[in-house]
């Protein structure tokens, strides 16, 4: 039986649609923390939205959710991983679209906005999984600039942003900027000494 962290659901009751939540997790609890965040958003707050898959392919993430009995068919998945894998863009899921590479940061933003514009839901979130994966491909200053823009674009549109990261593997300046821009912090990460 997969157990969700109920304290995350409690913490999420205080966020609003124009909040930006930094969710810190560790290497071993990443999926549990992600699921504990997404489930209350969908089930308690009846939200839909976009899931940006930079860490793992969309198919892998969808299947992981299905395994624990969570239906994510009304969430749009932007897959940044599979195009970099030969033949990786075959997907049985209609709610998945692909972006060539995590380097195409502006495309990720625009495709998320497009998915939200065609969404039938009024209350939406965008989950970025994860800053660590984007940091592999993108230079520190560019990533910090992007996150600043990313958070503000969605905040202005009243779309909740959830940004996942494993803090001890994120460049310090990016992490410092996240601390500054995000309105809320859910910390299930490892102990970090700045």
């Amino acid at each position: 039986m997969f157990e969700l962290d109920q304290r995350i659901a409690e913490q999420l009751t205080s966020v609003t649609l124009n909040s930006s939540v930094q969710v810190r997790c560790g290497n071993s609890n990443a999926f549990m923390v992600t699921a504990s965040t997404i489930v209350p958003l969908m089930q308690m707050f009846e939200m839909s939205g976009v899931y940006i898959c930079a860490s793992r392919s969309a198919t892998e993430i969808i299947e992981a959710f299905e395994t624990i009995g969570i239906d994510v068919s009304h969430i749009h998945f932007l897959d940044l991983v599979s195009s970099g894998i030969l033949g990786g863009t075959d997907s049985a899921h209609p709610n998945v679209s692909f972006i060539d590479s995590p380097i195409m940061l502006e495309s990720i933003l625009l495709r998320s906005l497009y998915a939200l514009r065609i969404s039938a839901h009024d209350r939406n979130f965008v989950i970025l999984d994860s800053v660590n994966a984007l940091a592999i491909y993108n230079e520190e200053k560019m990533l910090a600039e992007y996150l600043h823009s990313f958070i503000n674009v969605f905040r202005k549109r009243e779309v909740l942003t959830v940004i996942l990261n494993v803090p001890d593997q994120v460049p310090p300046s990016v992490l410092a900027n996240l601390d500054l821009y995000c309105t809320d912090l859910i910390d299930r990460g490892q102990v970090v000494i700045h």
Binding site: S101, I103, M104, E106, S107, L110, I118, M142, E145, S149
Partner: protein, 227 residues
Amino acid sequence: MVSGTCGSGKTTLAMEFLVRGALSGEACAHFTATEPSVKLLENIRQFAFFNMNMIDDGLINVFDMDVLYSWLGLDKATFDLDDVHALIKAIVDIVNTIGVTRLVVDSVTTLCYKIKSEQLIRDFLFTLGKKLSTLGCTTLLISEITSASENAHWSSFGVEEAIADGIIVMGDVERMGHLLRFLQVVKMRGTAHSRAKHSIELTPLGVMLTPMLKWGAMSDKQSRWGS
């Protein structure tokens, strides 16, 4: 004038300009010299806000330049002054007859290749622009360029840009082996506008854009075809 490299989205932008016009009840025309009208009409279906009534009701009109040349007896390799005037008259007559308020010439580069003198190209574009603007018609002149980098010209012949009221440049920025489309409004007379590079995505809802990241606008120190 919309200048851009191949695959940068010029024709898509121009088609959206027409479909948006048709959506608000304006009569629109597209003169195509780069691809057959049938193919163009197929591509126009990509827009979620397009419907066939726009064509059935005569709001979107597509003309093949080759057909127009045949009508005018201009099946020749180069145009002289009389030919140029005949062509301008034909385009203006069509615009006048249909009551076109949005026009696209795709591409002015292909068309101007038939005009050998730079002075004649200038006269052609200036006269065409002047006549169309007096008719209350906004025209997009599509210009094909081979580079959209900093040192490049914004048009093929170097004269189009001086005549146009506005210049939109489209191209690609290469970032670690990936091409990101960009759009930049260099000039738009009488309008306060951003002159920054914007990253674009071509979607069924039209061209979507966002300011290009400052740390990523020229991350490879050059745009697609070098500086």
